[in-house]
Symmetry: none
Subunit: 413 residues, 2 copies
Amino acid sequence: MRAALISVGSELTLGLTVDTNSAWLAARLAEMGYEARRHVTVGDDWEEVAEEIRRAAATADLVVVTGGLGPTLDDTTREALAEAMGVPLQSDPEALEQIRAFFRSRDRTFSESNARQALVPEGATPLRNAWGTAPGILAEMAGTEVYCLPGVPYEMREMFSHAVWPRLQRVGTPGVVATLTVPCFGAGESRIAEQIADLMQAGREVTVGTTAAEGMIDVRLCSWASSEEAARAVLGREAEEVRRRLGTLVIGAEGTTLEAEAGRLLGEQNLTVSTAESCTGGLLAKRLTDVPGSSAYFLRGVVTYSNRAKVDLLGVAAELIERHGAVSAEVAQAMAVGCHERSGTDLAVSTTGVAGPSGGTETKPVGLVYVALASREGCEFRELKLGGHLARESIRERTCSTALNMLRLRLLG
Amino acid sequence: MRAALISVGSELTLGLTVDTNSAWLAARLAEMGYEARRHVTVGDDWEEVAEEIRRAAATADLVVVTGGLGPTLDDTTREALAEAMGVPLQSDPEALEQIRAFFRSRDRTFSESNARQALVPEGATPLRNAWGTAPGILAEMAGTEVYCLPGVPYEMREMFSHAVWPRLQRVGTPGVVATLTVPCFGAGESRIAEQIADLMQAGREVTVGTTAAEGMIDVRLCSWASSEEAARAVLGREAEEVRRRLGTLVIGAEGTTLEAEAGRLLGEQNLTVSTAESCTGGLLAKRLTDVPGSSAYFLRGVVTYSNRAKVDLLGVAAELIERHGAVSAEVAQAMAVGCHERSGTDLAVSTTGVAGPSGGTETKPVGLVYVALASREGCEFRELKLGGHLARESIRERTCSTALNMLRLRLLG
């Protein structure tokens, strides 16, 4: 079954924004046996959008249009769809009421431009959007279903999952392209690839590839089969082999993160954790608390950006900072130990380093970072040399990943 | 001048990889006066690639194809281009020698599949690639130049900059498409659009549009002119008018953020800030310290995720938490005041709320958030109803944006 994707927005054609919606939709559609054979991006020009909708509807079994449903005049998908269908637009009373209700529930004032969002081509159906103001639209053109969804990624994803996916499931599809990702951390991409080199050869039943981003290595497995169960079985066997070879380099199940895995282990072992951050400036606590339910094991954190704060909040000796510098193994350990003592948690993690872009010296260059982990059994630390070629953001992300991985490995025993 | 972009690769149509090449190319081409009106992504199918090349060449003044130039059989751009041109492929001796030299220089073994990469349609010109094995191709189809570049982003960018850009510069283009973005925060997209509705009408010298993401509204200005200077002058005047109408809803210059602007004002006024976070779990401190040099004004932060931590680290009265609940205006203010007193900074910002997805009640639903700002002059707070339709991540981001905006507005006086 062929699908066609159309992304609408001049911010996309001008290159101001990268289109992430198409890849997300293509992956979801593949899971249901639809190949998104062509993705097209066009600007806010209703004639061009109409032409692409006509072309897509004529060649594909399913069309998904994202973007161009906002309240302003540069949002042209409604007009384009009506033009492609050759019908007029009309205001849908139910959609209008839903938009008004959305504004009421958030104590916001409904403005007349929002009434534009209730316009729907004659014969088409508005799709309820509980996540934003723009309703979606479902139309049929010569047997092809055309779905129009908002361009804001989270609204689009929610609407797809709630309004499109269940409809497509009901229709039924002939086969599936299934993928499975094994998330890894703790070694470079080439070292991981060497350990599974034979599995990465072309022509096998499962296609295996790797992707690296900020120190995380994803091992991607992809297979085509007649049913979800068949594809899952093949992928499951292959993933088992990958896991066997890579051991603790594998973080956990597909979709997990270092913070989710550390959190899962903390919960399982009924332990608590606290954080003491310098160079990561709150990112470590933020990542731990990205996980819903993290309040069960994450109790507190401090961001001791100034030396004074390290002394006040963690009891680090001013003399120690003076002797070794704030970026040192000694201070990282004193921070973790102080945090462990003062917070009363079972474990405490600390970070200190030079995140850049300035502030580096010959002996302490940008990218030099220390992370430490304290518990009743004592304190361990790691020195990282992340290199000055990395951006501030990357240095901070990788520092936190290393700290979370230390925590994970400690909990694994 | 119209450009068309074609990205080739089944990893893109399957949604395993996000296409970042098109946005990058569109932005570079705009700087030279080319509007990339349509971006198309197709899989590794030579007939479909050929069809897209034919269509693009017939409607645009310039076509750039990326991907599909690798050594393996699923790389089909060479065959597709030859088919679209209606000519045979032939091996180019110079391109072949360059590929062999590339392998020699890296002590890698040349394999016969790499010889495929020296194939070029009759009448087309190979483009040297010093950054990888795949030469690019330049062809002309009925007056339209078609450039084929490798899909690996780094190689593509280098080849574009060294082989395409200089040629386009030599040919000379009739003008430039310049863009300018005015970043705003503090009102919904429709309310902002109403205040500049006349500027957003079609047919004016400057095209004005809006884009919303996580509560941030970008007003995008786009203009076409004979030179960079002329375009900048027109955009500058238009931006001035937008700024005049929107007042303090405008955060600052293009590319700035709430945290950078708050930081700039803190630095200018020689003031310091600290943070006390509950629901945002470190994200507020993280965003403040995303800004290089933030250690000059951000001294410390605490993440008081448990009630006990609010009492210990901020001196919030346990009785106050018991009476009003941790998510209340009273506790938010006590957190900010406690943080201000204990940290010794000029300003202190606090957050407390229900980030979800669980933990909401009828009186305190998911999305109910309080932010407070304390200083010597006293304490102000805001109640936000972000709505349970938002993801945990969005609720946390928007809470921090509101807190940073309170700080910015206070510093503006």
